[in-house]
Amino acid sequence: MDTFWTQPFVYYFLPAFFTLAVYSFLFKDNPWFKLAEHIFAGLSAGYYAGLIFHSVIKQQMFVPMVSSGRYDLVIPGVLGFLLFMRFFPKGRWLTRIPLAFVIGTTAGIMFLQQLHGLVLPQIKSTLLPLNDFGNIVIVVGVLTTLVYFYFSKPHTGVLGGVAKVGIWFIMIAFGAHFGYTVMARVSLLIGRMQFIFVDWLRLVS
């Protein structure tokens, strides 16, 4: 009995309660599931608001302004504030200014990341000598899949045959993804059961 009461309530009992409340949905929708769902949504929103205020607005704007005289930080602060102008019909157009910054910088970073980080290295790693079965599979898979996504010509004749091979590669990739997804979801269940039986109830050492 001691085991139950000496554990911190918040570390063990509450998580266990919410785990069981969520899993109760497997039987049917019920008030306990709804309670867990609503508490999760509310907590998440509150936690995020506090976190962003503390780690961004306070720590990266107010503190440097006050302690180091970084008054230039007023500019991003004002831009951030302008995003809230969408709630005022007359000033809604002002949100376009910060959005232009967000879209511009995001596009720049994404371009850099996609081109230098993904496209070029991945193309380079596909240019392989055809002296190995694995290399042949990679090259054939990439080429036939690309042909499948070429839609400017009807998929008939040779093009249709090659595209069909591409479909097979795509299906095998989907199968691999599905298999891994099953493993991931099962892992989550195992994790929760380990928590309940090992950490909370301590029925297993």
């Binding site: 497997l26 780690s55 961004v56 970073i109 493993m183 099962v186 269940l189 059961m193 039986f197």
Partner: protein
């Protein structure tokens, strides 16, 4: 009558009550917890390469460990962070922790760093540090390449970085020998695409099983030195390190549930084709 009975059986094979599946899957998880089967966990080349790359880092190097995962995937990612920390602390590496996931990431990092650091007698601020979370991870990753202190003026506990002995030695990525990413989201793409490609820091990743097929392409392109894919990958790493823990323990259940799912897929297909054949024969 016999035919109708068979047809009913094959139709039932395709329509097993989902609650029967739930009970079987629940039993498959619980029974191995109480009676471990200790099924073998063969090591895949990607995990071995990851382990060997970490093993090859010179002792006492500075390693960054981003805790880029949500509490919802702790079952997969926490054992990865734990095994990574054990490996790094065993080599007396200095660990710089941070998180690009605001919801729970920094506090999970704090808990694990303190707990595993404590196992190895490590001290906060000298052997390891938790920088915490900052919004917009693309900007965070790029900014740390210039000056970490600009992005994280203080650590997660509010101590200015200039007052933390470890961080005085880590102005940017130039001082970081390796990045041990543990992630359940697209952040790993950015570590590879922004940090590895631009700053050339070698890195390996522990990712959830859902992300493993995509992340394997980074290994094939030598952008990641290796990969831990899901609970299975983590169990492999735990065994290579000689610390079989939670992931290894969960693998018995994993194997049984996978067998069960294969069985049900086969049963469903047998039922489908047999019912179709019967319908055809009967016109």
């Amino acid at each position: 009558m016999a035919n109708q009975g068979n047809k009913g059986f094959f139709t039932r094979l395709q329509n097993v009550d989902r609650r029967v599946l739930f009970v079987l899957i629940f039993a498959s998880v619980i029974v191995p917890l109480f009676f471990p089967l200790k099924l073998p966990v063969p090591v895949t080349p990607e995990t071995r390469e990851f382990f060997e790359a970490v093993e090859a880092i010179p002792d006492s190097s500075i390693v960054m460990l981003p805790f880029d995962f949500w509490p919802s995937t702790l079952a997969e990612t926490e054992p990865m962070a734990v095994v990574g920390l054990r490996h790094l602390f065993r080599k007396n590496c200095y660990v710089v922790g941070l998180s690009n996931v605001g919801m729970g990431g920094p506090s999970i990092a704090d808990r694990l760093l303190d707990s595993i650091g404590g196992e190895f007698g490590k001290t906060y601020g000298i052997d390891y540090v938790n920088l915490g979370y900052k919004a917009n991870y693309q900007a965070v990753m790029l900014g740390m390449g210039e000056r970490i202190e600009d992005i994280f003026p203080t650590d997660h506990r509010g101590t200015p970085l200039s007052e933390i002995p470890l961080m005085r030695r880590v102005p940017n990525y130039d001082s970081v020998s390796f990045i041990f990413v543990v992630s359940d989201n697209v952040a790993v793409d950015y570590w590879v695409g922004l940090v590895n490609s631009r700053f050339g820091v070698p890195m390996g990743a522990g990712v959830t099983a859902v992300m493993a097929p995509k992340s394997l392409s980074f290994v094939q392109a030598n952008q990641l030195v290796g990969l831990m894919g899901g609970m299975k990958g983590c169990a492999e790493y735990e065994n290579l390190l000689g610390y079989p823990a939670r992931a290894t323990r969960g693998m018995d259940s994993q194997s049984i549930i996978h067998l069960l799912i294969v069985l049900f897929i086969v049963m469903g297909n047998v039922g489908y084709f047999a019912a179709k054949r019967k319908a055809k024969v009967e016109g």
